[in-house]
C-alpha cells in the first residue's frame, strides 16, 4: 500500500467560523495506481490534494492520519513536512505553468530548487536532459525564460521538474484544464508514462474532466461538498456508478455523437450546500432524486464490491436487496 489516508479532516478558518472543506476522508492509493479525483468546483478536491503536502493557513488540520510507504506523514507540521516535500511527495499545483519564475532562466531555476534540497544540479543534469527528451522538449529550454515557451511546453516542463527526484506520490492538480485537446492528450499520456517508467510510484490526478480520467486513471474518486461520494475502478465509475451524484454527473456530460435534438442531456438542479454550516446527514440530499428519510443520517463510506466504495444509503439498500435475493436463491 503506497498511500493510506485515514479520516483526514481539514477545515478553513474564516471570520465566520470553520468551513468544512474536507471531512473524514478515508481511502488508499496502491503502488503504481493512478487515482483520479473528480468533482465540481468547491467540492474539496484541491483541499484534499494540498492537505497531503502543504497544509498551510487558513487551512487547519483537524484529524486524520496519512501514511506513505509505511511512514506517517506529519502533514500538520509545516517544518517537518519539508523533509518529504519534492522528494517523497510532490505536487503540480493548479496554474503551475504560470508560476515559473519569469526572471530566471529555467535551468537556473531548477538548479536553485535542487540546491534547496541539497542535491547537486550537475549530478542530476544528464537525467534531466533525458527526461526533457522524453517529453519532447529540446535541452535548449534550460537556457530559455518561461515566456519563450507555449502553454503546453510549460506544462510539460513543470511535470519534469516536479518529478525530478522520483517522488513516491505525485499530485497533479488540473494540469490539463488550460490546454487544447492535442496538448491535453499529450500531457495526460505523459503522466501515465512517468508512472510506467518509475519516475513516480503513484499519482493523484485532480480534474473536473471525467473523460480525461477515464483515459488514464486506474481508479476514480468522486467528491461532493467536502466528502467522499464514491471510489471505484475507472470503468466501474463510468459504466456502473452506484452513487446518484456520480450517475447524474456522468449523464450530464456531452459527448461527440450526442446532439440536443436527438438526446437532450440534463444538468443537476440546485447547488451544492455552503460548507460553512453544511446540512447534517448526506450532503447531496437536497439535490438527490432518490433521497428518503434515512438520508438525514450521514451515510458511511463502505465497500460494496471489491474496490468499489460508496457513501449512499440507497446504494447500500440496493446492495442489501441484491444480497438477500442471492441468499434466497441459494
Amino acid at each position: 500500500m503506497s498511500l493510506q489516508v485515514q479520516g483526514l479532516t481539514v477545515y478553513y478558518q474564516t471570520l465566520w467560523g470553520d468551513v468544512r472543506a474536507l471531512e473524514n476522508a478515508t481511502f488508499t492509493v496502491a503502488d503504481g495506481e493512478i487515482m483520479g479525483l473528480a468533482g465540481e468546483s468547491g467540492c474539496g478536491k484541491t483541499t484534499l490534494g494540498h492537505s497531503l503536502i502543504l497544509l498551510k493557513p487558513p487551512m487547519r488540520f483537524i484529524a486524520g492520519r496519512v501514511t506513505l510507504d509505511g511512514q506517517e506523514l506529519p502533514t500538520w507540521d509545516m517544518e517537518r513536512m519539508n523533509a518529504f516535500r519534492f522528494t517523497k511527495v510532490s505536487i503540480i499545483p493548479q496554474y503551475a505553468m504560470n508560476a515559473l519564475n519569469p526572471t530566471r532562466k529555467i535551468g537556473k531555476m531548477i538548479a536553485e530548487l535542487l540546491e534547496s534540497r541539497k542535491v547537486r544540479f550537475k549530478a542530476v543534469l544528464p537525467e534531466l536532459k533525458r527526461r526533457l527528451d522524453l517529453v519532447k522538449l529540446p535541452p535548449d529550454v534550460l537556457n530559455m525564460y518561461p515566456i519563450e515557451l507555449s502553454g503546453g511546453m510549460k506544462q510539460r516542463m513543470v511535470m519534469v521538474i516536479s518529478t525530478l527526484l522520483n517522488p513516491s506520490l505525485l499530485i497533479a492538480d488540473e494540469i490539463t484544464s488550460a490546454l487544447d485537446v492535442a496538448s491535453q492528450k499529450a500531457v495526460a499520456e505523459m503522466l501515465a508514462d512517468f508512472r510506467d517508467l518509475g519516475f513516480v510510484n503513484s499519482l493523484i490526478v485532480i480534474t473536473h474532466d471525467m473523460s480525461i480520467l477515464y483515459q488514464i486513471a486506474d481508479s476514480i474518486l468522486v467528491m461532493y461538498a467536502g466528502q467522499l461520494a464514491e471510489k471505484a475502478p475507472a470503468d466501474a465509475i463510468i459504466h456502473t456508478p452506484r452513487h446518484p451524484y456520480t450517475r447524474l454527473l456522468i449523464a450530464s456530460l456531452p459527448e461527440v455523437g450526442v446532439r440536443y435534438s436527438q438526446k437532450r442531456l440534463m444538468g443537476i438542479p440546485g447547488r451544492p450546500p455552503l460548507l460553512l454550516h453544511p446540512p447534517s446527514g448526506c450532503r447531496f440530499r437536497e439535490r438527490c432524486p432518490l433521497a428518503f428519510e434515512r438520508c438525514l443520517e450521514e451515510p458511511p463510506f463502505v465497500e460494496l464490491e471489491k474496490g468499489h466504495f460508496v457513501a449512499c444509503w440507497k446504494a447500500l439498500e440496493e446492495e442489501g436487496e441484491r444480497g438477500e435475493r442471492a441468499y434466497v436463491e441459494a
Binding site: 465540481e40 529540446p138 511546453m153 492528450k185
Partner: protein, 344 residues
C-alpha cells in the same frame, strides 16, 4: 444573415510594432437565420478575435462583415446602436463581466437607460422577469443580489437574459460554458438550443469538440487564423478530412472508448512554420513539398455538399486515396468528391 468575406485581422507586435501577427487570415463563412455555427480551434487560433470583429470591439484589417446585407464597418451613431440591439455577445468569464461594487441586476438598468428610456418602470420590471424566466432563473432568488452572491452559471444566464431583453437576432457566445461546472453547463447549453429554436442565430466559439457537436448544425475549424475545414457538423465529425481536424477528433477524450495509440503531434518536434505555405505544414504528418504544401496556401474547396477543406490532398479525388493510405491514415472511400469543385 451574418456573412464574413475574406476577413483578416493583423496585429502589430514586437517592441516597436515592427512585426505582424495575422490573427485572422482571409476567413469567410456565413451564419444563417436560426442556425448555430461552432467556431472551433485551439488557443491562439483567432476564434475569439473573430467574435470581437463581429461585435466591432476591434477593427478589421481587410475584408468585409455584413449583417443582413449591410457592411457593419460603415455603421455610425444610431445605426451602430441599432446593430447592437440585434447583435450581442456573452464571454467566457462571467465573474469579470460584472462590477463587483454594484448589484448584478445593474446590467439590466443600463440596458433600459441606453435602449428603452420610454418604457415605464413596471413594464420594464415585467420584461426583466420574463427574460430571467426564459433563461431558467427564478427572479425572486436572483434579483437584488451582488455578483459574489450568485453562482457562475447564474451570472452567465444573467448575461444571456440581458441579451434577450434587446430582442437580439444574433448572439456571439465566446466559450460561455468553459468556466462552468459539468452539472450546470449542460443547462446553459440547452438554453442556447431553446433560443435557437425561437429563431436566434448563434456563433458558438469553443475549444471543446463535444460541446460543439451537441449544439451546432455547422462547424468551422480554425488553425492559426485560417479556416482549414468547414461544413455540416455531422460530416466534419464523422468524416474529418483535414489532417488537423483528424488529429483533433482522435485527441478528444471520450467515455465510450480509450485513446488510440496514434500520437498527438506537438508543436516542437515539427518543422518551422512557413509564411508562404499551408498553415498546418509545420505539424502535418502528410505534408509533401511535391504537392506544394511548403510553398502555396491551399484554398478551401468543396469535397461534398456542405463540406469544405483546405488541403492539397483533396484537390483531386485520385490524389487523396493513394498517398494517404501509404502513410497509414485511412481516408474513407465513400467520401464523395464533386467534380465541379466550388471554391469559396
Amino acid at each position: 444573415m451574418l456573412k464574413l468575406d475574406r476577413v483578416s485581422k493583423v496585429y502589430r507586435v514586437g517592441t516597436f510594432g515592427g512585426k505582424e501577427l495575422r490573427a485572422v487570415d482571409n476567413v469567410s463563412f456565413e451564419v444563417r437565420e436560426g442556425e448555430v455555427v461552432s467556431l472551433i480551434g485551439e488557443s491562439g487560433s483567432g476564434k475569439s478575435t473573430i467574435g470581437k470583429l463581429i461585435l466591432r470591439l476591434t477593427p478589421k484589417t481587410s475584408g468585409s462583415i455584413t449583417f443582413n446585407g449591410v457592411d457593419i464597418s460603415t455603421l455610425r451613431g444610431n445605426a451602430l446602436k441599432e446593430y447592437y440591439r440585434k447583435v450581442q455577445g456573452v464571454f467566457q468569464d462571467p465573474f469579470s463581466s460584472y462590477n463587483p461594487i454594484f448589484k448584478a441586476d445593474r446590467i439590466f438598468k443600463i440596458i433600459r437607460d441606453e435602449f428603452f428610456p420610454d418604457v415605464s418602470g413596471t413594464e420594464w420590471n415585467d420584461r426583466v422577469r420574463r427574460a430571467l424566466e426564459a433563461v431558467g432563473l427564478n427572479p425572486e432568488h436572483v434579483l437584488d443580489k451582488f455578483p459574489h452572491q450568485l453562482s457562475g452559471g447564474q451570472l452567465q444566464r444573467f448575461l444571456i437574459a440581458r441579451a434577450l431583453l434587446l430582442d437580439i437576432e444574433f448572439l456571439v457566445a465566446d466559450e460561455i460554458i468553459s468556466m462552468l461546472d459539468a452539472s450546470t453547463r449542460i443547462d446553459v447549453l440547452n438554453l442556447l438550443a431553446d433560443l435557437k429554436s425561437r429563431g436566434l442565430s448563434i456563433l458558438f466559439i469553443t475549444h471543446d469538440l463535444s460541446l460543439g457537436y451537441y449544439i451546432s448544425e455547422r462547424a468551422v475549424i480554425l488553425y492559426r487564423g485560417c479556416v482549414v475545414e468547414m461544413g455540416a457538423t455531422e460530416k466534419i465529425y464523422h468524416n474529418p478530412l483535414h489532417p488537423y481536424t483528424r488529429m483533433l477528433m482522435a485527441s478528444v477524450p471520450r467515455l465510450d472508448r480509450k485513446w488510440g495509440k496514434e500520437e498527438a503531434r506537438l508543436e516542437l518536434e515539427a518543422r518551422p512554420a512557413l509564411s508562404a505555405g499551408c498553415v498546418y505544414y509545420s505539424r502535418c504528418p502528410l505534408a509533401d513539398t511535391a504537392l506544394g504544401c511548403a510553398s502555396r496556401r491551399p484554398a478551401l474547396l468543396g469535397v461534398e455538399s456542405d463540406h469544405f477543406v483546405a488541403c492539397f490532398r483533396y484537390t483531386e479525388a485520385e490524389r487523396v486515396l493513394s498517398p494517404a493510405r501509404e502513410s497509414g491514415l485511412t481516408v474513407p472511400v465513400e467520401a464523395q468528391f464533386s467534380s465541379g469543385d466550388k471554391t469559396l
